[in-house]
Amino acid sequence: MNANGPILQIEGLEKRFGGLTATDGVTLDLRPGEIHALIGPNGAGKSTLINQLCGELAPDAGTIRLMGRDVTHLPTHARVALGLGRTFQVTSLLDDCTVGESVALAVQAHAGGNLRLWDRAKGRRVVQARAEALLAGTGLEDRAGVPSADLSHGERKQLELVMALALEPALMLLDEPMAGLGPVESQQMVTVLRGLRDQTAILLVEHDMEAVFALADRISVLVYGRIIATGSVEEIRDNAEVREAYLGGEDELC
């Protein structure tokens, strides 16, 4: 693999649900370390695209390459092994586990040795230490003993991200990480994501434009399953088509 080659390459991806083309010939790439925002109206096919990238949905046509490897037909876990991490739009957590246990489990999943039948999972020092390190400094630090099911909406979002980060992914697919976060938490999240820039590339789906404009290196706009524009923050902000289809008036309520 070429060190500077794209980390993710999507070519001519298509997905149809009955008569509806949810993904319509999407071609897109992500460079290492880049934060690439994917925006678009509701129902444009963003989550559908993410689901195809991570292997939960099989595309009808097109190819997906991860670090140069064709992964179009690989199952989710195999893609994760290649360095893919994700969060879910509707949070998807381990409800009986505490925050600490959840993170430790994610760390362990990444660390391997998962088929050991005769050790003590809780006794794996390296795993526990890394889990603690991951939690340190996040808003969840003092919630480590709380069962995931008892978290508030915003906290669940944060936990999702921490679990994804535990995999040390080379590419992260984030589906609306800011949704449900308050202004303060949103700010924190922006800072966290910015800090990740060197470690991983990010495909960010988000409706919070403030965050998108603050973070994105490039933005692609998806409308009716099709990419109508890709460019820098300024280019997109000034794109008339995008404004009309997505951004609307500068101010939300005049």
Binding site: S92, L105, A106, A109, N114, A166
Partner: protein
């Protein structure tokens, strides 16, 4: 996962160790056999619980492995007794050290086959497809006239094990107790192992675990096989304790019974299933000796346990403390 209640387990073990003497002193020597049966069912139920409570795989077909474990012992015995090798090549045997591991192994093979197919489904469909495979095996054994069909197969002499007389009910009890102690220690390690942690995660949210890079199907299958092997072990012990096997061992209502024991005792707990087995068997024995409408009593007690406790008898016990 709570810490291993080591002291409690040791005390229980000590009590169990003197049970035959106490039973004799109290004039109820048959208690020893009931206890043997409780331990065997406890192993089976705890093993099912590994798939069901820890792994979230609600199998309604585990009696199949119970029956297979039993039939391995019985079939090997019958070939040894008749001095006619199985299929003309495999010699029969009555050595416990061979039959027990072999029963576990064969149960594992069947679990692998059934699991590999069944795990393609989930939820209620999984319950029903495991039931379906178990029923097919049930009908297979019902129609195997060579091995007694519906009427089953008697084992006039139990297996040999270091010159011990397993016909003797106390010897059989201690053997079972030993196996059970090892089994539960092993199970405890297993559920707290790295693999156990993965299985617990998969139970809670398979999609999430897949996104963490875990090939969940393989893990579930492996857990299902381990669980089937444990039940096979119990079946093999039962064949020796009862000196008899029949397709009844793999009837769907036996699967149901194992499940009831698990739920009654507490799903996802280490000793819950053992407690459940004890409660159910003792309750049945006690009520049946008391009234011929004992099923009514069993029904009422079971219903009361579900209605008034969450997490079965072991949850009730815990709350007491």
């Amino acid at each position: 996962m709570r810490p291993f209640p080591l002291i409690g387990a040791l005390v229980t073990l000590a009590l169990l160790a003197v049970l035959p003497q106490m039973a004799g002193a109290l004039g109820a020597p048959a208690t020893t056999q009931i206890a043997t049966r409780v331990l065997i069912y406890g192993i089976a139920a705890a093993s099912l619980n590994f798939a069901l409570g820890y792994g979230g795989m609600v199998s309604f077909g585990h009696a199949a492995f119970f029956g297979i474990g039993g039939y391995v012992v019985a079939i090997l015995y019958s070939h040894w007794f008749a001095d006619a090798p199985l299929l003309g090549v495999i010699p029969g045997t009555n050595q416990l050290l061979i039959t027990l591991p072999l029963a576990v192994l064969v149960a594992g093979v069947f679990a692998a086959l059934i699991g590999a197919l069944s795990l393609r489904t989930g939820g209620v469909q999984f319950i029903m497809i495991t039931l379906a495979f178990a029923q097919m095996l049930f009908f297979l054994f019902v129609s195997l006239k060579a091995y007694g069909g519906e009427d089953g197969l008697s084992i006039r002499r139990p297996n040999e094990f270091f010159g011990l007389n397993l016909r003797d009910r106390e010897t059989m009890y201690y053997l079972t107790l030993g196996v059970a102690a090892l089994f539960f220690a092993g199970l405890h390690r297993l559920v707290n192992s790295s693999f156990g942690a993965m299985i617990a995660g998969i139970r809670q949210n398979e999609r999430r675990m897949e996104a963490l890079g875990i090939a969940t199907y393989r893990y579930k299958l492996f857990a299902f096989i381990l669980s089937g092997m444990g039940v096979g072990l119990a079946g093999a012990l039962m064949a020796n304790a009862m000196r008899y096997v029949s397709p009844d061992m793999m009837h769907w209502s036996r699967s149901g019974e194992l499940m009831i024991m698990v739920i009654l005792g507490g799903t996802g707990t280490l000793f819950g299933p053992l407690i459940g087995a004890a409660v159910l068997l003792v309750l049945e024995t006690w009520l049946a000796g008391w009234t011929e409408n004992w099923n009514l009593g069993v029904g009422i007690v079971l219903l009361a346990v579900v209605m008034f406790s969450r997490g079965g008898v072991s949850a009730l016990l815990r709350r007491r403390k």
